[in-house]
Amino acid sequence: MKTDFRYMEHHSQVRVIATIVLVLLSSSALFAADNSPQVTLDASKAGPRSVEVLTQRAIVRDYKFAWTNLDAALESNSASPLNGLFAGTANDWLRQAVSSQQRSGIISRYLNQRHKLDAIFYAPAGDVIELHDTAEYDFEIHDGGKTIHNDHAIVHYVVLMTPGADRWVVRQLQAVPQF
């Protein structure tokens, strides 16, 4: 029986270790789930055209996806995450930001993002919408693995979005001191 006991003892140790690993994994998974941007939209004040429910859902989905990939692009210093999500001026600015970060070796991160969107203007033809975004995030700047800046910022953005092939794309993303 002794060998059985040692066997049992060994077996229970394995089970304990496995449980701890599972807990860590699930917690990190939970923690990871927190990092994707939280976006809310209030389209009640939009005009002259009212924003349809399906359009509101699409804008929230695509704006969240845009900021997720914006962070990924500036973290990996690669422009490919921006493909298909930004257009016009916003696209040019972000690609310049990525290439200048590549040159300087700097990396910036937008973590724990929360965006409160207000639809201000929705064109009669439905081909452009202006939003005011009150964005709250932890903004970090790293140089060679060292964090040189880390602050919890609240920034106001004026956003223009236009309908693309299969989603709304961000055409202008301009920070302003206040609305």
Binding site: A87, G88, D127, T162, R171
Partner: protein, 381 residues
């Protein structure tokens, strides 16, 4: 040395026996449409009976061995030369038949005596727009120890040379040079609208159909998409009108559309999300194809059929006409849309008959119908 001869005999005998077995078991399918060779000398079968004679003839047609096929028929008139014979099988003027290959055939006797026989062949054609079936009757005659296919097709009358005035409208699209500047070239897409939509269950699955009108003053290229949504709001399936629509619509023109959802039942569907996409395209108002003398009939097999004739009123050849028919009940609702391709090309001012089938489940409700003609022209494409 004693065992050499038995081994040699054994190897040769087994090989010959296996080859003999190979000849009697079924043939594995080969590729289609490549001019392939004939059976090796001594292995092509003779024609001791009408079935075998017709099979040999159709095999030569399938393999495009025209010389052998033409030499095996018995002509009733000398006016029919080999060129006309080949044209009968490969079509002319770039029609659908000229794109097609005979993939396989089934034959059965209608009636036979010791001297002549009537056979019916169901020909399965592989065409660019999908499989097409053709039923054709052959008359055979017993000549000595073999049977011959009697070829009594009268060649098509030569269309007399004629001058046809062609003054059709044409729209060309000039894309601006403003590049990516936002708002610079905002020529809107054509304004088209879905005017009716009806969803029904059919034997193969759910079907969504209806009509689209081009309300704009310029031609529009349209595609209709539909997404079936269940009770929880998630999409079950999304399909599009594919080839069951007239894609290029002139101003105020109406086209039916049909969207098939194989293996989906409407019982699971809460709502249908429709989406019509319209694009600016260069287009032409020709060819104008009239649809004449249409009437609903029941054919020999008991199917309900809309039969009619197409009249090419323009000056350009229509290579592949495609008929799309919409059927309405007494309240004017679209109850079915069916389509069919015409195998022969249509030279200017010529007519060609067509027939499209109506499912039995719907035939009883049909009160009215409307036909539009889509077309493919080598000249345009």
């Amino acid at each position: 040395m004693k065992r050499t001869l038995p081994i040699v005999i054994l190897i040769v005998a087994v090989t010959v026996f296996l080859m003999f077995l190979g000849l009697s078991t079924g043939r594995s399918a080969g590729t289609v449409g490549i001019a392939s060779g004939v059976a090796l000398p001594g292995f092509n079968s003779s024609a001791p009976n009408p079935e075998q004679a017709l099979n040999n003839f159709l095999l030569d047609v399938q393999r495009r061995n025209w010389d052998r096929a033409f030499s095996s028929v018995e002509r009733t008139s000398d006016t029919l030369n080999e060129q006309a014979f080949i044209q009968e099988w490969v079509g002319s003027n770039g029609g659908l038949r000229s794109f097609s290959s005979l993939e396989r055939f089934d034959t059965r006797p209608l009636h036979a005596t010791s001297s002549e026989a009537q056979m019916r062949a169901r020909l399965h054609w592989s065409t660019p727009v999908g499989p097409v079936e053709d039923v054709r009757d052959f008359h055979l005659a017993h000549r000595g120890d073999t049977w011959k296919v009697i070829w009594d097709e009268t060649p098509k009358p030569n269309v007399p040379a004629q001058i046809v005035a062609v003054n059709y409208l044409r729209w060309d699209l000039v894309t601006g040079t403003a590049g990516e500047e936002w708002g610079a070239h905002n020529v809107d897409a054509p304004n088209v609208r879905i005017v009716s939509m009806n969803a029904v269950d059919s034997a193969e699955g759910a079907v969504v159909m209806g009509e689209v009108v081009n309300e704009d003053t310029i031609p529009a290229f349209v595609n209709v998409n539909a997404t079936l949504v269940d009770g929880s709001g998630s999409a079950i399936d999304d399909e599009n009108s594919f080839d069951k629509i007239l894609h290029v619509l002139l101003p105020k023109q109406v086209t039916p559309y049909r969207i098939d959802f194989p293996h989906v039942s409407l019982s699971k569907v809460k709502n249908v999300r429709m989406d019509v996409k319209a694009t600016l395209v260069p287009a032409s108002s020709d060819p104008v194809i009239g649809v004449m003398n249409q009437k609903l009939e029941t054919d020999a097999q008991g199917h309900s059929v809309l039969h009619g004739e197409l009249l090419n009123e323009s000056g350009q050849t229509v290579n592949i006409p495609h008929v799309i028919a919409s059927f309405y009940d007494n309240s004017g609702k679209v109850v079915w849309v069916s389509d069919g391709y015409v195998e022969q090309a249509m030279v200017p001012q010529s007519t060609e008959s067509f027939a499209v089938e109506i499912p039995q489940s719907v035939a009883g409700k049909v009160q009215n119908f409307h036909v539009v003609v889509n077309q493919y022209s080598l000249q345009e494409s």
